[in-house]
C-alpha cells in the first residue's frame, strides 16, 4: 500500500497540472522544514514548539493523505500541548521515518 494518497488533491485539481506541480513543490519545500522544526524542538525538549510543529504538520499529512500518520501526529500534538512526554519519542521517530520515505517517493513519482 502506498504511504500517501493524493487523490483528494488530484480531484480538486480537476486535471490542472500547474496546480499539481505547485502543490508538490510547496509540499516538498514546507513539510521537510516543519519536520526539522519538530525534531529540533524535540531534542531541545521545547514542548510548546513541538506542539506548534505537530499542529502544522498535521494539515500537510492530511492533505497528502499519509493515512498511517493521521492518528500519530494528533497524538503528538495533544500530548505536547498538555506538556506531557509519554510516548512522544516513539511517535516522533515514526513520523520522521514515514515522512522521509514519503518525500523520497513523491520526488520519484513527480521528477
Amino acid at each position: 500500500m502506498a504511504l500517501y494518497d493524493l487523490s483528494t488533491i488530484t480531484d480538486m485539481s480537476g486535471g490542472n497540472n500547474d496546480f499539481m506541480k505547485e502543490f508538490i513543490s510547496t509540499f516538498l519545500e514546507s513539510t521537510p522544514a516543519t519536520l526539522s522544526e519538530l525534531l529540533e524542538a524535540w531534542s531541545a525538549q521545547d514542548l510548546e514548539q513541538v506542539y506548534r510543529s505537530a499542529h502544522k504538520l498535521k494539515s500537510s499529512i492530511d492533505l497528502a493523505g499519509v493515512s498511517s500518520l493521521y492518528d500519530e501526529v494528533r497524538l503528538v500534538e495533544l500530548t505536547a500541548k498538555k506538556g506531557e512526554t509519554e510516548g512522544l519519542a516513539e511517535s516522533i521517530t515514526k513520523i520522521e521515518e514515514v515522512l522521509k520515505q514519503v518525500f523520497e517517493e513523491i520526488k520519484q513519482e513527480f521528477s
Partner: protein, 453 residues
Amino acid sequence: MGNLKIFVVEDDLLYATTLTYKLSLNPDYEISHFERGKDFLANLYKKPDIVTLDYSLPDINASEILRQIKQTHPDLPVIIVSGQDDIAIAIELFKAGADDYIVKNQDTHALLWHSVQNLREKVELKEEIEHLKEEISQKYDFSQAIKGNSAIMQKIYGLMEKAVKTNINVSITGETGTGKEVVAKAIHYNSKRKSKPFIAVNVTAIPQELIESELFGHEKGAFTGASSRRLGKFEQAEKGTIFLDEIGDMDINMQAKLLRVLQEKEVTRIGGNENVKIDVRLICATHKNLLEEVQKGNFREDLYFRLLGLPIVLPPLRDRGNDVLLLAKYFLDAFCEENEMSRKTLSKGAKEKLLKYPFPGNVRELKAVIELAAVMANEKEIQATDFVLTEGNDFADFLQEEHTLKDYTRQIVMQYLDKYDNNVLEVARKLDIGKSTIYRMLKEKKLNRYGFI
C-alpha cells in the same frame, strides 16, 4: 456585482496553496494570500469582501486580528479556519463577530467553498439593500417627490427642510390629491429616521371598533377573535414615523386615547397591563379645517394643539400657476417611459386647457388626466380634445371666464371644428348655423392670428 475579493490569511503554505486554488476555481473570485497577520492588516484598506483567517498565525493571535477587523470594518465577513476542533475557542470567536468557523480536515475545502458562497449571498444582499435605500432617498428627494417652481411651493420646501431636522410633529392640510402623503413620506425619508419604518394609517379606512387595536395592538384573548398578540401601528413604527391620514375624522373617544398616548409616549395594548414606551415621530393630515372642527366641538382642542406642531398647508393645484404644466410634463414623460412609449408632447391648446381647468382633484387628478390622454392620443402631440375633464366643472369654469358673446360663440365653433376635423359642413349642421358664419369666423381668426385686425 464585480469580482469578489477574498483575502486568505494562512501561514501554512501548503494549506494556502490548496485553499487559494480551490477558491480560484470560481472565476468571479479574486484571491490574495497573506502569510502574516501584520501583512494582512496592512492591506485591509484594500477592502476585501470576505476574509478567511487561520486561527494560529505566528505573529498575531486570530482573536486580536478579528477584533481589529471588526473595529474598522464591522461589516466585513470573516471565516475562521482553525486546526483546533475547540468549541470554547469557536464560541469566543463567534462572540467576537466571526461569521463561520471551519476546522482543518479532509472536508475543509468543500466547507470553505460553501461558506464563501453563503457569505457572498449575504454580501450581495447587503449591497442590494444599500442600493435600494439610496434609491428610496433619491425618490423622496424633495424636488423629486414634490415638483413645483411656484413661489408657494418654494415656501413649502422651506417648511419641509425645517421639519426634517427635528422630531417635531407635523400637520399637513390640503385638498384631496394635493400630495399630503407624498410630503409625509418625503419628510420621513429625508430625516434621521429614514432607515426605520414609515407606517401610514388612514383613519377613515378602518372601522371605528377596530381602530384602537389597529393603532395600539392587542394581547391574545383581549376580545373575541384576538387569537394572538398583535402589535399596533405605533409599535410597528418604533423609531420611525407614523402617518395618520384623515385625522379630522377620528372618533371623539378615540381622540382621548390618542392624546394620552402622545402625552405619555407609551401605548397599552388592548387587554394588556404593560405600558410600552414608544419613540415615534407623528405626522398627521386632514382635508378638513381642524380649527373649525374644534370650534364645532367635533375635535378636541388639547389634541389639536398637540398634533398641530409644524403646520404645512398644501395649496390646491389651481393656485400654483405654471406648476400645472411642469407637473403635466413630468407625469407625461414618466408615464411614457414606464410604458415604453415614445415621448409625447402637449399642444399649445392642450396646455391652455390645463391652465384653465380648476382641478378639483388636484395633482392626483392631473396625473390621471395626463395618463389617460397619453393612452388616447394617436399623435405624438397631445391635443386639448384628448383630455377627459370633469364636464360640469369645465363648463362652469368656461362661463366664469366672462368673454363677450362673440368670443364665446367663436370658442364653441372652434371646439366643434377641432372635434370634427375642420369639417365645416358637419359643424354647421350640428350647431344649426350657416356655413358662411363659420367661414367668416375662420377668416377673422386668421386675421387675428397674424395681428391685422
